[in-house]
């Protein structure tokens, strides 16, 4: 090792810098090729409109951004994505907390229940979608409902596998939060005469609010990313009633111009959602050290 920690700041050893960039090179290559470059290209492509179904492209400037981002295709897709998040996130938080609170106690055999509650981690999005596709199939399902062809229910039918599959993740995360609550706090509250319900609402939930925020963020991201559920269960139908933003982007991989605008739109949606989550919710969350 050529330089120690006491080395003069600002002076680098050529050997160390070389090693550092050798170590970083594979990651940089991947990030440039598959993250930054495609995104930069998308920004440019958004100014081209496809002519004759993608046979050639015509430069139309920022007009296409304005037209597509205010058009019904983008707003409908965004609305469906938001609806999907509304269907999956609150119930995910609620059930995850319920399962974790129920299984966070000292009973014989509680490990078995904890294993059962986390078992949906084993299913992939495709597996759970196929399971619910056939459970709620109008011809052969256990519940013979035709939600898949009902414009008002199609998106909810596609949200069911997500709700079920997220149970395991939500449970595991909230349980980890509960287990990190110091025993002394609980003991002190018990001595102060807190009942189970008051303990939960006044002590436990505020203490694990950072964990709930983390889970909330993850579930919102999953909700916006949902694709397999929609493709397998409703195929976007009926009549586009369950086409979310990601589903629309996937359909536009032939039309680079429009697809690019929708992608950039999704990027800004992600940015705004991330920003909102961390500014609004951060204030209402208790962190131990503040």
């Amino acid at each position: 090792m050529a330089t120690g920690r006491a080395a003069v700041r600002g002076k680098y050893s050529a050997k160390e810098v070389g090693l550092a960039f050798a170590f970083l090179a594979p990651s940089i290559a991947v990030f440039v090729t598959f993250f930054y470059l495609p995104f930069a290209r998308l920004l440019g492509w958004g100014t081209y409109e496809s002519v004759r179904g993608g046979a050639s492209y015509e430069q139309v400037g920022l007009g296409q951004y304005r037209d597509v981002l205010t058009g019904s295709e983008f707003t409908d897709g965004l609305w469906h994505s938001v609806l999907y998040v509304f269907y999956t996130v609150p119930v995910g938080l609620l059930l995850g907390t319920l399962l974790a609170v129920a299984a966070h106690r000292q009973l014989k055999g509680i490990k078995v229940f904890q294993a059962i509650f986390s078992s949906t981690l084993a299913s992939s999005v495709a597996v759970s979608s196929v399971i619910f596709f056939f459970l709620f199939n109008p011809a052969i399902g256990f519940f013979q409902v035709s939600w898949q062809s009902d414009p008002d229910m199609a998106l909810f039918a596609a949200a069911l596998p997500s709700i079920w599959q997220n149970l395991g993740l939500a449970f595991v995360i909230v349980l980890a939060g509960l287990q990190a609550v110091p025993d002394e706090v609980i003991e002190a509250a018990t001595l102060d005469g807190y009942g189970p319900w008051r303990m939960l609402t006044r002590i436990t939930l505020p203490l694990i609010s950072p964990v709930l925020l983390f889970l909330f963020v993850i579930l919102v991201i999953f909700g916006f990313q949902a694709f397999a559920q929609i493709e397998i269960i409703t195929k976007g139908g009926p009549g586009g009633a369950s086409e979310t933003l990601v589903f629309k982007i996937f359909q536009q991989t032939q039309d680079y111009g429009k697809g690019a605008v929708l992608s950039v739109g999704l990027f800004f949606v992600t940015l705004v959602v991330t920003f909102l989550q961390f500014t609004i919710l951060e204030r209402r969350v208790h962190y131990g050290d503040s």
Partner: protein, 424 residues
């Protein structure tokens, strides 16, 4: 509900269902509170496992048969294979038997209340339970399968006998100094019921092997496995290398580069999908393995997690090894990586899980069905004809098996990986 009562099994006196869920802490309501808690937990388990139960029933029955019979809540017209425990290929026989051995051993370990390492299973009673249980199951399932296949009307009693035979091998292992004998017997019977029931459900019926063959799940699973292995190897090695550079090496633009690494979290695959698909098409990489794995070759999350692990190492270790003349590569491989193994293991497992479950990207860059990964194959299968839907459902359940194995084997790492960031 968050009472933290410390309760012993000896308190279980009355197993009658409670009129309502109560959580009392006074000694008079103690037992009812206990029963209520178990009842509530069982109800929640039903909620979580319910869809799975119904799906298994659907997989076992030809769909229109149970629809015509008014959808009874039990398997209908199951097609049983002509087999015993010992028929089928050697690989499936070995795997089947290993699963049973491991399951029984795990149950014995859990019942003993000790860890794997404390010579838990090296007692004669437990060895008898493990080996005897597997042998008893292998011998007892033959008549059960034969009876079910011939539909001779005795299946119920034959099944019960098999359960009792397996249970008889388990009792001795479950007996403990603090456990009443009747509880050991109950646990043994439940074990027998579970093991024989699983054998009947998952080894006896034709539908599992039929779905495997008809929808070529084997090759699809192989491709998914190769893809997951390559992605995991790439992600773990690039994450270790870049994390090492960010923590232990001095180089210009370090902060800027780190910010650019982390900023990739704002560019999820969904955003760059159109651009990446265009890249793959220009390279003429559609339907190739490199198209499936290279975009996931590096992750900001992995770099971040392992960087946290490296930063937790005491600086004395680095100073001491430097005095001993170790270079960076030797320090990385001999000290940094072994000392942060828990973090690296957690990231490895969640990276493998994520890679195996990929859907959108393979869907976008695979245009030929003969190159489908397992998840994409499932979509293909479910879009097929409805008359054989039970085989499609069976494929979905078969497709989940590798992840179940992963989940059981690496439970701790998975939970640590998933909750990294949630709890400090």
């Amino acid at each position: 509900m968050a009472t933290r009562d410390v309760l012993g099994i000896a308190d279980v006196v009355d197993a009658a269902p409670p009129p309502k869920v109560t959580f009392g802490r006074s000694s008079a309501r103690h037992t009812w509170g206990l029963v209520g808690q178990y009842g509530f937990l069982c109800a929640l388990s039903l909620l979580v496992l319910g869809p799975l139960f119904l799906t298994v029933i659907q997989a076992l029955s030809p769909p229109f048969t149970y629809v015509n019979e008014g959808r009874p809540l039990h398997p209908v017209s199951v097609a049983w294979k002509d087999r015993t425990w010992f028929s089928g290929g050697p690989i499936s026989l070995v795997v089947r038997t290993l699963v049973v051995l491991l399951l029984v051993a795990w149950l014995q370990k859990v019942a003993s209340g000790q860890g794997w390492r404390s010579r838990t299973l090296h007692t004669p009673a437990r060895l008898v339970a493990i080996v005897g249980g597997a042998v008893a199951l292998a011998l007892a399932t033959g008549p059960v399968f034969a009876s079910l296949r011939d539909a001779d009307g005795n299946s119920g009693s034959v099944f019960l006998i098999a359960v009792l035979v397996v249970a008889a091998t388990q009792v001795w292992g479950y007996l403990g100094p603090t456990r009443p004998a009747w509880i050991s017997v109950l646990m043994a019977v439940l074990t027998g019921l579970g093991v024989v029931g699983m054998a009947v459900l998952f080894v006896g019926p034709e539908v599992w092997t039929k779905a495997w063959g008809r929808y070529s799940l084997g090759p699809a699973m192989g491709r998914s496995l190769v893809m997951a292995l390559i992605i995991t190897t790439l992600q773990v090695s690039t994450a270790i290398m870049s994390a090492y550079a960010f923590v232990f090496l001095r180089f210009p633009f370090k902060r800027l580069l780190f910010a650019l690494f982390m900023a990739t979290l704002l560019l999820p695959l969904e955003v760059t999908l159109v651009g990446n698909v265009a890249t793959i098409r220009q390279l003429e990489w559609t339907n190739t393995m490199q198209a499936l794995v290279l975009p996931f070759g590096a992750t900001a999350l992995g770099t971040f997690l392992i960087r946290q692990g490296f930063r937790g190492l005491p600086s004395e270790i680095q100073d001491a090894t430097r005095l001993d003349g170790y270079g960076h590569v030797a320090f990385l491989t001999k000290f940094a990586v072994p000392l942060t193994r828990p973090v690296i293991a957690a990231f490895t497992v969640i990276s493998a899980l994520g890679a195996w479950n990929q859907y959108l990207w393979p869907r976008a860059v695979i245009e030929s069905n003969s190159f489908n990964t397992l998840q994409i194959q499932l979509r293909q299968v479910s879009a097929g004809e409805v008359a054989n839907a039970n085989e499609a459902i069976a494929s979905a359940l078969v497709a989940a098996v590798p992840v179940v194995v992963l989940l059981i084997a690496f439970q701790r790492q998975i939970i640590r990986g998933l909750t990294a960031g949630a709890v400090k």
